[in-house]
């Protein structure tokens, strides 16, 4: 893993010192809120419904055990003993006090972390495949490139006042686990005819009030051209993007209004102009970073104990069926730790749970942890022979829920329980759905199903790309929930279709239950997933289930 060099260290410390002085001046009245707000947002500090909220960057979702322990200590010392992992692979604290934030940032700097550019109209935390460096289907680990982008974008003088926020995601594998097509720039590693790795560059994707699937700007970009090419894109957007209307300011609108061809032309022109300025320093830096991400020393040992434990313990077997993914090294597995226990808040982990996960990473996962955009925690490199011990420890910490990819593995934004922008609550809906399907005991029978909930049109809960998406709105002073169907956030990204009128908070759970049970009747057999059934049959039969016609309702 990458560790801060002297430059990173000095930069982050100086930002903490600056922010400390800014907070002091806000508290003593020298700064008004209008003056202070942009300063706090530059450091990830929001003001929400009940308190401030500090959003800490977890670059490309990678943490080491000491960082995870520090996040736990921060939760205990300056918050309420827990943290919320987000769809941007970040962690948010919901209850910081203004005067404590500089000390919190100092504590983050102690472990090579910060909250810089987690807000504002800048290039945000670069996200990546949470199985990076471990996935069996990977071409290359995308994290060195993500780290290069982090260094380049942090405090980049040209890009501190973009028309709007800017999000970049990187994937190094065949399957897209980083939602690259719903980002301002998505970088998907591919090989060219000669077998060399490079990037398919996708631009103008995004969710929010105008969801759009990203478009391919370049089929194949050689790795060495990455930084100048990305700089060219952001540079073109910086000048062309609209600043007159907040809702039309994202690059997806710029691409939509100007057309892909014009953007291509401008980007290539800009790229040609600046390419020469990148004289190789970026590549030297990338080489250094790549060395920091060298794969761990995988060991070869027997996996007999694992098979025996699977046979002996059905609960363990069930967990291995849902929570493991294929690893590129023989005898290894990728473990997804569900922080979605039925009835709990999706993405929340207590400080004790964070410490358990840190210890497990240290002992069994070559010192690595990942945060997924699906709000779970990953132990990327676990030898199969260690899985029974890992499972036992997780069980002890209430972290052994076997539901990854199932109906209760729900993405939910904080919604109106915390967020000042929200129009309705998300968390209680997620809790209710997960609890209900757990009670029905049909979760495993249902199989792969992604439900994603957002508490407002900004779509932090990715509802547009949920197989079932739920959007919470305020309809005449009452919470109302709209359903979208058929969304997909993988390499076959699709924006879900709106099913019809919304449901009240009391009606939404029964509607989802109807929908899912209806799917069980419609599917050809148990191998056909919800999404496949939806693609085969379209919206109509699901609409009929959600909104039964009068006669049928009377006959029933």
């Amino acid at each position: 893993m990458y560790t801060y060099n002297d430059f990173d260290e000095a930069f982050v410390r100086s930002r903490v010192a600056q922010f400390r002085a800014q907070v002091e001046r806000r508290i003593d009245g020298s700064l008004t809120e209008d003056e202070f707000k942009p300063l706090r947002l530059m450091n990830g500090l929001y003001l929400q419904l009940h308190a401030y909220m500090l959003r800490v960057a977890v670059p490309y979702g990678t943490l080491n055990p000491s960082q995870m322990r520090q996040l736990a200590d921060i939760a205990d010392r300056w918050d309420k003993g827990y943290g919320h992992f987000t769809t941007r692979q970040n962690i948010q604290y919901n209850w910081p006090k203004l005067q404590d934030v500089p000390d919190t940032l100092e504590a983050l700097a102690d472990v090579g972390m910060h909250a810089i550019q987690t807000s504002g109209n800048t290039i945000r935390n670069v996200t990546a495949d949470h199985f990076a460096g471990a996935a069996a289907d990977e071409i290359e680990d995308p994290r060195p490139v993500a780290e290069l982008l982090r260094q380049w974008s942090t405090d980049h003088p040209e890009f501190q006042f973009l028309p709007r926020k800017f999000k970049i995601a990187v994937s190094g594998a065949e399957h897209d686990r980083a939602v690259t097509k719903a980002h301002d720039i998505g970088l998907r590693m591919v090989r060219n005819a000669a077998g060399e790795p490079g990037f398919e560059v996708i631009v103008g994707g995004g969710l929010g009030r105008t969801p759009m699937v990203g478009k391919v700007l370049r089929d194949f970009l050689p790795k060495a051209d990455l930084l100048p090419y990305v700089e060219a894109i952001v540079s073109v957007y910086n000048l062309l993007g609209r600043r007159d209307n907040k809702y039309k300011a994202r690059i997806k609108i710029t691409v939509h209004e100007n057309g892909l061809e014009k953007i291509q032309e401008l980007v290539e022109e800009r790229f040609a102009a600046i390419r020469g300025e990148f004289t190789g320093f970026d590549q030297d830096l990338l080489t250094e970073i790549e060395a920091a991400f060298a794969p761990p020393a995988f060991v070869t040992k027997s996996t007999d104990g694992y098979e025996a434990a699977r046979l002996a313990n059905p609960a363990f077997r069930s967990w291995t069926d849902t929570n493991l993914a294929d690893h590129k090294a023989d005898g290894y597995a990728i473990v997804s730790i569900s922080i979605k226990k039925h009835g709990q808040t999706p993405g929340d982990a207590t400080s004790d749970q964070m410490r358990v996960m840190a210890d497990l990473a240290e002992r069994y996962s070559h010192g690595e942890l990942r945060i997924s955009h699906e709000q779970n925690v990953i132990l990327p490199h676990v030898h199969q022979s260690d899985l029974p011990a890992v499972y036992a420890a997780l069980r002890e910490a209430d972290l052994a829920t076997a539901n990854i990819g199932l109906v209760s593995d729900i993405i939910a934004c904080p919604g109106m329980d915390y967020c000042a922008l929200a129009t309705a609550r998300s968390i209680p809906i997620a809790q209710e759905i997960a609890t209900r399907f757990d009670d029905l005991k049909i979760e495993h029978e249902i199989g792969a199903l992604k439900i994603k909930i957002s508490g407002c049109i900004n779509a932090c809960g990715h509802h547009h790309v949920g197989h079932i998406g739920i959007l919470g709105l305020d309809r005449a002073g009452v919470e109302n929930y709209q359903i979208t169907l058929g969304g997909d956030g993988t390499e076959t990204t699709t924006i879900g279709e709106r099913a019809g009128p919304g449901f009240s908070a009391d009606e939404i759970m029964p509607a989802i239950e109807r929908l899912v049970k209806g799917y069980l009747d419609l599917r050809t057999d148990e191998t056909e997933t919800f999404l496949q059934t939806y693609r085969r049959l379209g919206l109509a039969p699901f609409k009929e289930i959600l909104y039964p016609s009068e006669e049928k309702a009377n006959a029933a």
Binding site: R26, I27, D28, G29, T32, E33, L47, Q48, L49, H50, A51, Y52, K80, N94, W95, P96, K97, L98, Q99, T345, D348, M416, D417, Y418, R425, I427, P428, Q431, D474, G477, V478, E479
Partner: protein
Amino acid sequence: MARAFTPKVVTANALLEGDAVWLTEDDRWTRDIAEAELLTDEAHAELRLLEAQSRAGEIADAYLADAKSGERGPEPTHFREEFRTRGPSNYRHGKQVELN
């Protein structure tokens, strides 16, 4: 025609804790909306908001929120404002425990 004025309270977030506070008639910031001054006159409400906004060293983001008269005092009329009097629904955190 302009919409009829509905009663309001001045509300904001406390500067240090960031939690919801309401302006009382005797110019205090209270954590209990029932102690807030219910503003039934539009011009007076605008004036009170300006006065609130000038107290930048105590609060942030002051605004007028709809409220109605209840048994104990002013009560919120919209669910968002109701949540602000209570705290989140997933944990017993915030005012629902702090006020008791």
